[in-house]
């Protein structure tokens, strides 16, 4: 079926007359010499290259991503066209065949993503590859001023298996078919609905889901939105324990320099397939390292919660932000997550600014109590010619089954020159037994403080070329980007990245 559609599309595209065409793209080359801490093998020389190539001609476009990974260990190596796409698009219609990104509603049923520039590596496979979760199949969309219709038949990528994983079919175990319709009633209101059918590869069963969408903007500074998704056999709006459903809603308001937002979630039995849906987590995503890696990972098997945030910007440019997050899990035991976050930004003058934060969290899923994090960041510029950023962060927490508390330290000092050149040092330390313990010596729990010290530098040659260098030890751990959480591995050695646009 897929072959037939694709061939028909090619015939149609072949008849299409081209007038204006362009080829453009980007390339990332990353070289590493080093190792992961606690790995028994010697230092490795690895090279990873990612080429993204685009060809546009009027309404027609082609896209391909080629990835290559080379190490001395042959079974980890690959050279693969990991994404390919043909697209036709005009003012009211588009069709995509191949690999593409698409989200149904607000991601309760289906969400795909790309973390641009990221290179993922798993401690077991030790193969490096681009981190994305796309869909492979076909997508058709039609739209005008008052209605938008999209239909998808595709297989989401199960991206924990690398491109060289065999068989290929194990990388895309789920098949989803979805139809979504959004109606723009007027400038203030849009309503929508979606239907999705899921076929896991391990069974012949089909699971069906529905979704209702609402977006209201009664005034320009007030927005209400929500989505309610459910499995077909669930009691509509029943919210029963045995049902599979997901409810997400939010309210945004701003007036002058003041803004506020409030969000609510209620998810139950809503881990779909191999995890191809990503409902909004409603946990503030921090960029501060000590907080980013302490994040709460959404548990869609059962989670309710709220997130509330207010901010105010003063005339001089100072800002204050306050955020409160609450999440309750009750899959088989009750667990609570609470977080209070305060952030202040103070502008001294055009050349000097300070930022600081305070964060308090109680995290049952990690058995962490009284997790307190603080940070101070100073940004100093000298006539915009050169400047430096000093970033100091500290975190302390307790786990009742461990005898000693855990402390995390982060410090960095970065110098920059004319926005083209920057160089800095990053220092981290921890007393966390889960990080100080050597996984090779199971009988012993090592508790000595662990340190990471690394230096990095980057130079932008021009708008098309940039080089980044890292030397030393880099701390890994959980990381979240745009609501997507994954594990980053520690690294010790030298890393060189060369980015090109053309």
């Amino acid at each position: 079926m897929k072959k037939g559609i694709f061939i028909a599309l090619l015939i149609f595209l072949g008849l299409h007359q081209n007038t204006i065409a362009q080829i453009y793209g980007s390339n990332i080359f990353e070289f590493q010499y080093g190792n992961l801490p606690y790995q028994n093998n010697k230092e490795l020389t690895t090279s990873y290259n990612q080429l993204n190539l685009f060809y546009d001609s009027d309404n027609l476009s082609f896209y391909g991503k080629v990835e290559q990974f080379i190490t001395p260990i042959e079974e980890r190596n690959y050279f693969d066209l990991t994404q390919k796409q043909v697209q036709y698009r005009d003012d009211h219609f588009s069709i995509r065949v191949g690999n593409f990104y698409e989200t149904i509603g607000r991601g309760l049923l289906l969400r795909s993503y790309d973390i641009p520039g990221s290179v993922y590596e798993d401690a077991f496979e030790r193969t490096r590859y681009a981190f994305f979760r796309d869909l492979e199949g076909i997508s058709v969309e039609g739209y005008n001023d008052w209605i938008e219709v999209k239909a998808i038949r595709a297989k989401p990528l199960f991206n924990v298996n690398p491109p060289n994983f065999k068989p290929d079919s194990a990388r895309r175990p789920d098949l989803v078919e979805a139809l979504q319709i959004n109606v723009f009633v007027n400038d203030l209101i849009s309503v929508g609905g979606a239907y999705m059918r899921h076929n896991p590869s391990f069974t012949n069963d089909f699971q069906e889901y529905g979704s209702l969408l609402l977006d209201i903007n009664p005034t320009t500074n007030l927005q209400f939105f929500g989505e309610y998704a459910f499995q077909s056999d669930a009691t509509l709006l029943g919210f029963e324990d045995e049902d599979a459903f997901a409810l997400y809603s939010g309210l945004n308001f701003y007036s002058g320099s003041f803004g506020a937002s409030f969000e609510y979630k209620n998810y139950n039995n809503f881990r779909l397939g191999q995890g191809f849906n990503d409902p909004p987590s409603l946990i503030k995503e921090h960029t501060y390292p000590v907080l980013n890696r302490s994040t709460h990972v959404l548990e869609t098997s059962n989670e309710t919660g709220i997130q509330a945030e207010i901010y105010y910007t003063f005339d001089a440019g100072h800002t204050i932000v306050s955020n409160f997050t609450m999440a309750n899990n009750n899959v088989f035991i009750e667990q609570k997550y609470r977080e209070i976050f305060l952030e202040g930004y103070y502008v001294v003058d055009d050349y000097l600014s300070f930022k600081s934060f305070f964060d308090y969290a109680h995290d049952d899923p990690k058995l962490e109590e009284q997790r307190i994090s603080v940070g101070f960041i100073s940004d100093k510029s000298f006539n915009y010619e050169w400047g430096f950023v000093l970033d100091l962060q500290f975190q302390t927490l307790n786990r009742d089954f461990e005898n000693t508390g855990t402390e995390n330290y982060y410090g960095s000092l970065t110098f920059n020159y004319q926005s083209d050149l920057s160089a800095g040092l990053i220092f981290e330390a921890t007393t966390d037994p889960q990080l100080t313990d050597d996984p090779r010596t199971f009988a012993t729990f090592e508790t000595d403080t662990r340190f990471w010290l690394g230096g990095n530098a980057s130079y932008t040659f021009n708008s098309s070329h940039r080089m980044d260098v890292f030397v030393g030890k880099r701390r890994g751990g959980p990381a979240c980007t745009s609501g997507i959480c994954y594990e980053i591995l520690d690294f010790e050695g030298v890393e060189l990245r060369f980015s090109t646009r053309f």
């Binding site: 694709f6 090619l10 043909v86 290929d168 175990p173 899923p365 199971f442 009988a443």
Partner: protein
């Protein structure tokens, strides 16, 4: 343009092959892994569970979903069958995390059955890839996979319980019809040689996976040595005691598990 189109077409015509992995009804691949609380040299193997129904929970010690779902494997599965000597439950960490992380996992989930470490390669044998987690699997007494979860453990634990019940029922039916199999018993054997100087071997038999302690006491009741302190597999076990530096005399050795204690004496002659 034509070449690019043709290349894309060829790529789409590539047909994927089937997933290579162990299926229900096939022989369960063997494994031998260290466990939480034990040393690298003291491992629990699948082979040592021969003749028993084995439940396996594949988890990642740092996996948030596994932490949420782990309690159901303890309360609904392990607690249901733990008193049946023909049943064994094992957790296998497929994220290959350290003992401290696994200790945290044990605390947050309340799991009391043995947790085996460094088991990602076992996951590959059973599921054909290292990216799976939060899965239940059951191996029958015949050594064949009788249940292989394709969903999270919170979604199929009732099916797992039903499958284990069926597999245990097969054993009792088989025992009734054959009536020859002697159940393994808890036993402490006399050390050999006895008297000894300076080494002797103490052997014993366990009827189920147990937290085991084997201690040596002198005639005054003072503890002289602890030879074993950890989780051990059912079946025959032995340990050698080197009594160098210990004075001659009568010594008591005591074998204790969670609910049973046996003692014997031995004579050291120098």
């Amino acid at each position: 343009m034509k070449k690019l189109t043709l290349s894309l077409l060829l790529l789409f015509l590539l047909v994927s092959s089937a997933v290579a992995q162990v299926s229900v009804g096939e022989a369960a691949p063997g494994f031998s892994l260290p466990y939480l609380g034990g040393s690298m040299d003291d491992q629990i193997s699948l082979e040592s569970q021969e003749g028993k129904v084995v439940y396996i929970f594949f988890y990642g010690a740092g996996c948030p979903h596994c932490r949420s779902n782990g309690p159901v494997t303890e309360t609904e599965i392990y607690q249901t069958f733990k008193d049946d000597t023909n049943f064994v439950a094992l957790g296998i960490d497929t994220w290959n995390q350290n003992a401290s992380s696994n200790n945290s996992f044990k605390n947050v989930t309340g799991i009391t059955y043995p947790l085996l470490l460094n088991g990602q390669s076992v996951l590959v044998d059973y599921y054909g890839g290292s990216g799976f987690y939060d899965r239940s699997l059951v191996i029958g007494a015949d050594g064949l996979v009788s249940y292989k979860g394709s969903g999270w453990v919170n979604s199929d634990y009732q099916d797992v319980v039903a499958n284990i019940s069926t597999e245990l029922e097969k054993i009792s039916t088989s025992s009734e019809s054959i009536g020859s199999e002697e159940p393994t018993e808890f036993r402490l054997n006399q050390n050999y040689p006895n008297p000894f100087n300076p080494t002797t071997t103490i052997s014993y038999q366990l009827e189920s996976i147990s937290q085991v302690k084997l201690e040596i006491f002198n005639s005054l009741g003072q503890q002289v040595a602890t030879l074993v302190d950890g989780v051990q597999s059912p079946g025959n076990q032995s340990v050698t005691w080197n009594a160098i530096g210990v004075p001659s005399g009568i010594y008591i050795y005591r074998l204790s598990t969670d609910n049973q204690v046996l003692t014997k004496s031995m004579l050291l002659l120098k």
